[in-house]
Symmetry: C2
């Protein structure tokens, strides 16, 4: 196995996977803090900090950050999620030191200058409005907030216009000082990278990262269920339905992943076959299962003609419910095969590999070998998968919908259909 | 170079790039026919055919097509564009024969059964409505149609609800018989693939493909410019502005690609720096240059607060206009470096590589070596790039906008600002 990991004395973890045939490398700096680590008064701050990181440091203006990486043909990117904030670069092998230098600079030396802050708030207000105009993004934000009401994990990652407008440079600095600590950060690289060189460079540029231990944990999440429906004049109604999923730290996590894939993942899944192929009820229909550290969300999304939305929901819920009763060995074999090939494809792509290793380090403090994941998937049998699906479907449903929502309903617990379970 | 090409006696071209370190392969069957090859009475037929290809063949039902590929952990996909229709599979090396067999089956043996056709029309009507609900898709459809009015190249790829509803199985069969000919098709594979084996398998499964020469050429495109504005209640106004670009077959194509990248491609580009970083006018702002075989479209897209839309347009047009006068050597060096690293990254990814080789085969009947493209990029100097930008900006502008469009204007020819050119 070409994966190597090192923990520096500061607590900073470094992981790499050398892909000897490549000339480029993906480098990610993953911080184990995201929107669910925010107090209500901090809502939107993780994402604002991610934006402000590129707005100037003690050594580089915003323009110089962009010019330095792009002069090398590289690119920088960043993303804030519920549990992580990630900063990425993709560069030629020879420019790994430059990429690390820039990533460390923006994480440690950002100045959060007041005029830059005011301007960037305006950019984020535009980003919030863009979500409002994108029903297939907004419906997932509504689903999450209905599933986890009044909890950090259920809040929109971007924050609200009111809250974002009010943040000061000091608020950002305080959040940074508390959350961007060596012990919560993973430097991950995949592609044309040599581990010892990476460690030496990372140790040097990240030497000023505080080595104190983090003293925070996110508030535990409680799945509740509920509904949010927003009436809008749209051509389609966008519907997302959710149930309580399984945390990725739970041994049953893969069982529910397989359930979601078999019931609604690919073109051969029940959901796709029933909703799109047999009845032509939707162009977009798919199931998902998102794992968080301590909870999860299993569900499906579809967009359809408003007049068909009631039928679509009934058919899709029926697919899910029946799958928990009688998913076949052949269906499960197909879902497992798809998951294994997806896993292999991720190993072959430096950006996907970099991302995957960083997430595993934050979740498990180690990188899971491909063979280990495949063995875990293979070990799960049909009855476990049905049982885990049935467990999820017994939870209180969550429904989010945007558009002409008149026919969208909140289902009784699907468990009612699971006679005999 | 690991690229090999073969032309079979039928005219079918086969290209492969063996990436010895991979265990998976991407396989694409690219047909050199898309929406611009349709007569008005056929509008939407390329896309309908692409959908119907998966709805059953003489040997496999729709469900069996999905099950056969997914049982191997693979996936199938397809896309219709203005000049191509592409069918893809991504599989383990050992399943390349299966992937080719399924791809040939759906391309040659589809039955277009009447009840499947009626249902699939319903799915496409949903897809058309989904575009209506997605302003950042719809605005590009409007831009293309305003730039090339009353021409096949300017028509939406999906067709119209009226036209799609009216197509018969016979219409699809007639279009297939005329357009899916060995001489217009390229089989492209990248990853864990061996060329001779690929050729033998492809020759066998595609043996029934008609070997007659195609007797059609698309109607030549004439860039005209114009405007389409659609008033809608949205949080943002979505604006796309275009000018006459350069065909990919033209020696000046790369000059305009570099112009677009330097003026508005990356984070260090003028457009991003002026519009987002200096003025905070938009979250999304970027330039693009699309090359077609005989024309092109250079432009930018932004979404912004309606009250700022006039200012955004003035600033962005000014960036473009000034870039044609005074793009610096440093800016051009950065744009070239980014293009070269992007090119390398595409070579390292089997799906991107498969796609790139197929497009080059259809455009040039050969695969361009990386060194050749880099040499072509390096050969172009600053004055050529400015001149090619100025040439494009002298064309009649095209404007498309959706949302509260009151402040969106159709600019005078930007050339007016280019004093002394």
């Amino acid at each position: 196995m070409s994966v190597k990991t090192t923990t520096l004395p500061s607590g900073l973890r470094i992981v790499s996977d050398r892909m000897a045939h490549l000339e480029t490398a993906s480098i990610g700096v993953f911080v184990g803090a995201g929107s669910r680590h925010e107090h209500l008064s901090e809502h939107g701050l993780s994402h604002l900090l991610e934006h402000m990181a590129f707005k100037g440091t003690r050594r580089r203006s915003a323009r110089e950050i962009a010019e330095d990486i792009e002069m090398a043909g590289g690119d920088l990117n960043a993303a804030t999620s519920t549990e992580h904030t990630a900063y990425y670069a993709h560069v030629l092998a020879q420019d790994i030191p430059l990429a690390l230098d820039i990533l460390a600079d923006v994480l440690i030396e950002s100045t959060f200058e007041a005029s830059e802050l005011e301007r960037e708030k305006g950019v984020i207000l535009q980003e919030i409005r863009a979500v409002e105009d994108t029903p297939d993004d907004l419906v997932f934000e509504m689903l999450n907030s209905a599933a986890f009401p009044d909890q950090p994990i259920g809040r929109p990652i971007l924050g609200t216009a009111e809250r974002v407008s009010g943040f000061s440079g000091d608020a950002i600095r305080a959040y940074l000082a508390t959350h961007y600590l060596a012990g919560t950060i993973v430097v991950s690289a995949a592609g044309a990278v040599e581990h010892n060189f990476l460690c030496n460079e990372a140790a040097r540029v990240f030497s000023r990262l505080p080595s104190v231990c983090p003293e925070w944990d996110p508030a535990p999440a409680y799945y509740r269920g509920g509904d949010k429906r927003m009436k809008r004049r749209l051509e389609q109604v966008h519907i997302a339905v959710g149930f309580e999923g399984t945390p990725y730290s739970n041994p049953d996590f893969y069982a529910l992943q397989i359930f979601a894939n078999a019931a609604g993942g690919g073109m051969s899944s029940r959901l796709f076959q029933e909703v799109r192929e047999t009845r032509g009820l939707a162009y977009s229909i798919s199931a998902f299962h998102w794992g968080y550290s301590d909870t999860g969300l299993l569900g499906f999304y579809a967009a359809t003609d408003p007049k068909n939305s009631g039928e679509l929901m009934r058919v899709a819920l029926d697919c899910f419910g029946k799958a928990a009763l009688d998913l076949s060995d052949a269906e499960i074999k197909r879902a497992k095969a798809q998951m294994k090939v997806s896993l292999l494809a991720a190993l072959e792509n430096p950006a996907a590999r970099c991302d995957q290793m960083a997430r595993q380090m934050i979740a498990f403090n180690r990188v899971l070998a491909r063979e280990e994941i495949i063995a875990a998937i293979d070990r799960i049998d049909t009855s476990q998968i049905r049982a885990e699906g049935a467990r999820a479907l017994r939870s209180s449903p969550t429904v989010a919908a945007i558009g002409p929502v008149a026919k969208v309903f909140v289902p009784d617990r699907v468990a009612l259909q699971l006679k005999g379970i």
